[in-house]
Symmetry: C2
Subunit: 353 residues, 2 copies
């Protein structure tokens, strides 16, 4: 608990001086003011996050955390649990969607076993941080103990703290865990106060009948565990997941280190709900990469007051949306840092200026 | 006219065999089918455009065409005409928004003087293709002769034909021309059949009173010139611009060479209306990068039945949106080409498959 409390203390509001300087520079660049729209806003927020009037996005990482979920016993989806471990192998071999998009973004991929329900072979590229081999079945009881929830959070924080020495200007969150839209919907229902049916989607693709069953399972998880939105740590322990807790820790750790966090889709969003519940200032450090095709995601983003950069009907997870959001964040920072000002370029300004 | 006609003949529908093969591969990649949403659709379309089951986006160019507009005499905006030439200098020096974003996208920037109303100093990086030093004032008469319209189109076509030897997998369109939202709105009104008021926006930023004046000027241009949507060449000549004609040529030339075209904002969209009007098959080769903050752009994209990839409230032009759309197109192609299949990665598939 020491690291967690200490991390909350390190999380500060954005640097308003750096933001004012960034805005002032943005308005002197050779373009009509505001004509780069949301890229301009984003560049100013990046300045506030990094505490630099000209933010830099050079060192980039996507942290992909994997975990399994006891609730798969309730048959909430169509994919076998073994796929979680198999996909970890795919990440390590470089063949998954996130590997491809991270390569394009120039981001390193950090693969973490937070709680895969299989013994994974040691691999120099795999961070073995297993809290336990899969969570408990949330339809019957808690996902994990509060101690395990703290361990998951602190694992994420420590990971970011350690990564700082390799250089880290921006981090993206990614997840892998068969069944993990179910705990994510449960977290989303609790933290936003919406009914389960409104925040539950088809995950990787299920029928209407299966969807009704999934909603009933989530409702049972809420009835059995009685999570309370005012106790985010308890919410994580009762209806969460190890990779979700780890990603919430990554978010907290990034904010504590003045590193921007690009959040991916619905599972990363559930992690953000936990992180913001624990320390509301964290919200200012979040960049929403995209709105996922998973139905609860829009509700979640509205609750966090985040406007997604992209809407490409993606729903893969792994950090694939985050990789694209990172590219757009880099574009925003480059515009601010690399464009010439009117004075530098000898270009006339609008009349009346 | 020879090159133009010859180019129409070279424009073929997309390769349906390559598209079917791309779809088949896309469905074997290690992810739930369809979970990369619009990136999957885009990868399949790129396969059809390039006629390759695995499309490649390696050689990239943004073609930025500059031209001036006689209609600025009507005071349709607040920026002095000299800015067109000054911004060409900024493009050549590498300090403009498009230079920054093209560098990130790994695209070369090709700067073309199609009709700047100033004598530009020779520069090895500048393609001097001036049709005339600015168009006529469309509020009083035609922008150019039909011969000049053909010259503008053929200049764009020839440029793409010549660029093929340097390698070209995708091309982005960019524009620079003080006053060029006015002819673009006029073209948009004619080609979509909408009233001028519905397709006229604030350009680089004008007041309500100025907007009413701008709409009146566009209406006058339509009344004086009587352009007919069934005669797209006549529309270009009567109410167009040299950079708009050049970009329409780039679009035609790209389609003829099986090169995907990422269209930028409103001015590039007006060029696309002309190109598609001349040869409707061209539409299949177009990728809409973004919907601009300029109000007519949404109407224009609906008319072309194109769904933009991004909505970031951008309205700079220069190809800045196209550069971002190119990055997303590359992501789509990389996913299809670089991701492992279930078989290759040894990952189990969904039950029932």
């Amino acid at each position: 608990m020491g690291l967690l409390k200490q991390t909350f203390d390190r999380i500060k509001p954005l640097d308003s001086t750096a933001m004012a300087q960034a805005k002032e520079r943005q308005d002197r660049l050779t373009k009509p003011q505001g004509s780069l729209g949301r890229l301009e806003e984003l560049s100013i927020r990046l300045a506030g996050i990094q505490g630099k009037s000209i933010p830099e996005i050079k060192h980039k990482a996507i942290i992909v955390m994997a975990g399994d979920h006891g609730v798969v016993a309730e048959k909430v989806g169509n994919w076998p649990q073994e796929v979680t471990a198999q996909m970890v192998g795919n990440f390590l071999a470089g063949g998954a969607g996130i590997n491809v998009l991270a390569r394009q973004a120039g981001a390193r991929v950090i693969v973490v076993d937070m709680g895969v329900a299989a013994k994974l072979e040691p691999n120099p590229k795999l961070l073995a941080r297993k809290v336990a081999p899969g969570t408990g079945n949330i339809a019957l009881g808690p996902a994990m103990t509060e101690e395990q929830a703290i361990q998951a959070l602190e694992t994420g924080i420590k990971l970011v703290n350690d990564e700082m020495k390799n250089g880290l200007d921006i981090v993206g969150t990614g997840d892998m865990g068969i069944g993990n839209t179910t705990p994510s919907s449960a977290i989303c229902a609790v933290m936003t106060g919406r009914p389960a049916a409104q925040v539950t989607g088809r995950g990787t693709g299920i029928t209407d009948e299966q969807l009704a069953h999934k909603i009933a399972v989530i409702q049972r998880a809420l009835d059995v565990n009685r999570p309370d939105s005012k106790q985010p740590l308890g919410v994580l322990a009762k209806v969460g997941g190890f990779e979700i807790g780890g990603l919430a820790g990554v978010i907290l750790g990034a904010a504590a280190n003045h590193v921007a966090v690009v959040i991916d889709g619905f599972i990363s969003g559930a992690a953000a709900l936990i992180a913001v519940g624990l320390e509301p200032t964290v919200r200012e450090y979040l960049i929403s990469a995209h709105v996922s095709a998973e139905s609860g995601h829009r509700v979640l983003l509205q609750h966090l007051e985040l406007k997604p950069l992209l809407d490409l009907e993606m729903r893969l997870g792994e950090g694939t949306g985050a990789a694209l959001g990172m590219i757009l964040s880099e574009a925003a920072a480059r515009i601010l840092g690399e464009m010439a000002t009117f004075g530098e370029a000898g270009v006339s300004e609008e009349s009346g200026k």
